[in-house]
Subunit: 296 residues, 2 copies
């Protein structure tokens, strides 16, 4: 039975649709019997079907930040001109995830390993079958969204007219792989995690709190803290205001991350660590060559 | 009874002397009934007593790195010219520390809170009483050693002719305080830590391993990993060689940190978080004014 978690609802995240693409075979050998992708769309697809923008999501993220910050008239992604689809990554807590499924073969600790390439293949199928989109004016994403964007560009070069990977690498670095491990260990070291079989994410509060604290030192930057950038950030909810950095850490960073699902975070972190384009299409590191041509 | 830990022995660390400065009252209100400082000296004090250099130690560090890397003929600190005293910080595992004392009033979890200012006062007393040094040609230290160096300069300006704080701030930053917390939580979240009353540091192996992993992402840099700087580092011991970054992390970083004492690391981290010069002598942040004059 799926676990209840109010964080992963339209009330918190904003509207989205669940779209099934059926049985989905994963690169690592597992299977998701009925893969449902949570999609939020903005704007209209034009008749030529050439104004589509695809947005994959980052670690711990959902479509929410995109409509809150980037999508809107006059913003970077303008829905009066573009048809914008934000597709939540597999396992992020909205698309099919360890705690959302009632399929005992993949629930909780039995959730299969998912790779960046799986997300990209699933998104391609989803957009083609459900929205009739065969080509994107732009694929844009940050961090793990950038990992997916790189993968899109080398896997489906004919379908990606422009790619904008932001703050993410085509091949994960050793430092980043080690960093993701510290995040994962913060969670799995909590006895409440129970090998992934907790009854509520609240049982893993200690681990999620440590995860939030580590995130605050590397996901946020030294400059973020030095300039007190947090003073310009609105509180998540009434009663969670902050006027010192300690209060910001408690009422914002910890408050946010302790609402999340531990297994979802672990699924994403495992995927993040292994971010690397398809070996057979591999053309160089982030700092090297990048080509969207389909002729090489 | 002190815990046995081979890491904190002359065989591993190189020669040092334990010098008692007696009962020592701490800034936070605690007392160390018989404070013993572990000191390693190099070179000879000249007749004028004006060739003394003092070196305080950094987090998790001892005097070892100093004689291994910085002290030697033709090196930065040349003992043919200078009398160099490396004083291990209080609680570092060599000077009086939670696991080294047989005084039940301060052993293990009962060890009192120590501040940077305590170390500096203790060092001043030690050098004056045991070595007859009233003035230093140079005080030099890195990281927490820099915190002590700043404190030396503002607390005893007449005694510090030159100060060289390396990679350390006069006032700890929010980011750094949060980072130190993640290191501490990695240890204290291990049930084997047992509130500081473990029977052996090996009971805390999981926590020390997590501590090592976090350290690897911030104590070592992204460039360290990107350039594979570790390839030039000699292994700690036979059988601990490495040819991949994963092996380096396991056989060097983890191997080193899991030899250490958990309470010693916690004592140092707590002190590090509160690194800040004496309020009444406070003259600005690291990036601001620094004065060694005694006239202001």
């Amino acid at each position: 039975m799926p676990l209840e978690n109010p964080f992963y609802t339209p009330e918190i995240q904003g509207p989205y649709e669940l779209r099934s693409i059926g049985r989905f075979e994963l690169e690592e050998g597992g299977v998701i019997p009925d893969l449902q992708l949570a999609v939020a769309t903005f704007g209209e697809l034009n008749e030529a079907r050439d104004n589509a923008i695809l947005v994959p999501t980052w670690f711990s993220g959902t479509h929410a930040t995109w409509w809150q910050v980037y999508i809107g008239e006059g913003r970077a992604l303008d829905p009066t001109k573009w048809f914008i689809a934000v597709v939540n990554q597999i396992g992020n807590g909205l698309s099919t995830s360890p705690h959302t499924t009632d399929d005992p073969s993949i629930a909780m600790s039995r959730f299969p390993q998912v790779r960046i390439g799986d997300d990209v293949r699933a998104q391609e199928q989803l957009m083609r079958e459900h929205y009739g989109v065969e080509r994107f004016a732009l694929v844009v994403g940050g961090s793990m969204g950038a990992q997916q964007t790189w993968e899109w560009a080398v896997r489906y070069p004919d379908k990606v007219l422009r790619a904008a990977p932001i703050a993410g690498t085509a091949q994960n670095t050793p430092h980043d792989t080690l960093f993701a491990k510290t995040l994962m260990d913060a969670i799995t070291s909590d006895p409440g995690w129970a090998g992934g079989e907790y009854a509520s994410h609240e049982d893993v509060r200690d681990g999620l709190t440590r995860h939030a604290d580590i995130w605050a030192t590397m996901g946020l930057t030294t400059d973020f803290w030095k300039t007190e950038f947090w003073r310009g950030i609105p509180p998540i909810a009434e009663g969670l205001e902050f006027s010192t950095y300690e209060e910001f850490q408690q009422n914002f960073v910890r408050a946010l991350f302790t609402m999340m699902d531990p297994n979802a975070l672990l699924t994403m972190a495992w995927k993040w660590q292994r971010g690397r384009n398809r070996q057979d299409l591999w053309i160089g590191e982030f700092y090297g060559l990048f080509a969207v041509s389909s002729t090489w």
